[in-house]
Amino acid sequence: MVMNAKLHGKTLKELRVRAKARGLKGYSKLTKDQLARLLSQTAPAPSTTATTRRTKKARGRKSAKTAPTATKRAKPSALRPRPREQTDSTPTPAAPPFSTVPGPQVSATEQWVEQAKYALRPNGRAPSESTADLGEDIDRLPPLNEPVVCLLSQKPGVLHAYWVLPADDAGERNDYKLRLCRAGEVAVEIFEEVAVRARVGSWYFHVAAANDVQVQLGYYQDGRFVTARGRSVARLPSLYASTRTDERWWISDADFMRMYLRAGGFATAGRFGWNASIASPGGAQAPGEHLAWPGGVGGSQS
């Protein structure tokens, strides 16, 4: 490695001060040469809050002159968070949310590793060359003209709706409402109703477990809701295992629970459920509990 001559001329104490200022970790047991080499490999950077604990003894941090010895067979070690590199030019994706919690954290870790296959340069900056070189004005998307309302499930308890009103309609009325509801036996059961303030927009609804939920875009006239532009039906996915067993393929509650819990699920109030993301319904939260999940409070209305 290229050694910075200026660093080599500093005392060990001075090098340690620099290392501390750069937010480096694990340098206290390094020799002067090792610390100078470390500093020459890193550049001054804004201090960041490292999430790793300083280890009392870092393995392998012996004198540079110590020849590698035969290793003992090490046990499989913990997958530890990677410390942030401290250079401007080194990639610094956030450390993955490693933990011992099964289920959601495994999939979150996998997502973090999958995103690493797209990591080529720091900060995800686009290349300097434009990919759109055939006159496409890609900063302006094609207009949305066809009226539509669409309902998509995002996860248990959260539905996403988007709408497009025709340009002429938006000029005529300003009292449109987006309504999440379900057709009841006697009357429509309304879960939530929001005012539509833009021709094109979207919204995240929070709703407890329910099937055949609809979204309607319309307005009130003489106290009655007039469905003006389409409606869409979604089925909320469930976190929970079925309570039904098949006669031919019968399994006892005890055996099912054993398999289910071993596979990363949880048991609550007599039901078996799946740990979804931390911000999702499930785990310790009781079914039907409304969540203050930030993504659902607003939406976007352009």
């Binding site: 290229v2 694990g26 401290q86 999939s107 080529l120």
Partner: protein
Amino acid sequence: MNPKGYLALILHAHLPFVRHPEHERFLEEDWFFEALTETYLPLLDVFEELARGGIHFRVTLSLTPPLLSMMTDPLLQQRYVRYLDERLKALEGERARTAHDSYFHPVVQFYTQRYEHLRRRFVEHDRLDVTRAFRRLMESGQLEILTCAATHGYLPILAVDPESVYAQLSMAVRTHERILGRRPRGIWLPECGYIPGIDRILNEFGIEFFILDSHGVLNADPRPKYGLHRPIRTPGGPAAFGRDFESSKQVWAAEEGYPGDPVYRDFYRDAGFDVHQSHIEALHHAGVPTFTGLKYHRITGKTDWKEPYHPGWAREQAAVHAGHFMFNRQKQVEWLAGMIDRPPIIVAPYDAELLGHWWFEGPQWIDFLLRKIAFDQSDVKTILPSEYLDRSGDLQPANPPECSWGAGGFHEVWLNGSNDWMYPYLHAAAERMSALVRRFQHADGQLRWALDQAARELLLAQSSDWAFIMKTGTSVDYAVRRFKTHLHRFQRLANMIEFDGYDDGYLHQVAWRDSIFPDMDYRIFQTRPHL
């Protein structure tokens, strides 16, 4: 002697279609070159060596249509040779630079031998087309190759327009047959994304099985008698295998996972950022440092200080971890055999790029694992999902719920504040494409050419990679540009077809750039298979 149970190792290999002939070199093409270097070629080395030794093994691999397309693309093949040559040139400089460094010179020598071998293999053995090697292993019965949706479109959200689901599957099956010589028996649904109804559509394409995340089978209705350890029969006909949680946790979990072992190679320390000399700077893109693949350090621990990488120690540890994994599968199978009355299957799927690209020693681990399974025990045997189905009698009918294997288990990775703005445009474009198919049922000549290219652009816009990248924030600008570019191109082609008349020059340029699926037929956008 019959084993107590079976292990189905499934590796899902995918990258989005990235090919920019309009530029002499393009940074994001390195995704493909890195994966070839660190994952696909090393895995082929492992599998071929096992096959030459007559060692029994079975591995399932999904090779997505974009990946197959890139593997068979002459431009990318030539650029990969250039990629290898540039690194070999850089390594000449590294050998000179580290000639008197007893810590790093051995690592540089290691990489020199490695890149020389890869180049020899790719140019002389594979003749630039690695799909041939995969096909040989498939035909000899050791590998099963699954397909995946045409551009890895996330089907639960695209299913607002069923024509899009049919188009993604039609092009997937066509591409698989064109390149690998046979239709697939199984499919890896993109991100294991599933909603009820997809099973029926898969059946129309002759797909016999697919994979779901654990809760996709465990939460099926009625309760699955065998949990994750036998597939269920979906209402539409195909079987659904459930991912085994324990074997996933073995690799990934904080306290028990393998890839973070201190002796393994560190992913982030790369000569591209550490070495400031001209032979390494020659590998930079537009003067900006990037990953070069020349990584000289091991993880070491929770410290910024990283020790030099020692390939021999890492290899030894991979063997230890393989033995650990196998031992745990033996114990697992022993427990399951006591609980269920049929030989259980443990389905262990991973992103292929985990092995090699992220976890450098991954291919070695899998090599040791397959050898140990073959020679060191008899409780567990590797198997292909289709083999297991062929041996199974009745499967329990059950209805899987909506699910995915994305973080959270449902759709939020692909539908959240960073990417939900895409879907009104995608759905509108899909409706327009379906209308064009209904209107022009027997197009030919220039009309046919424009319609086929419009279908390509829409499929490329539907790639779930763009939404994933927007959510995870690695190359967001690139993902946004790609999505918008394909949307614009689709729109312009559709306008040409419907209103404006043809611009031959534009059509030529777009077709040259977005050249995936040479056998495209726009009529895939209809609600029946178009094969």
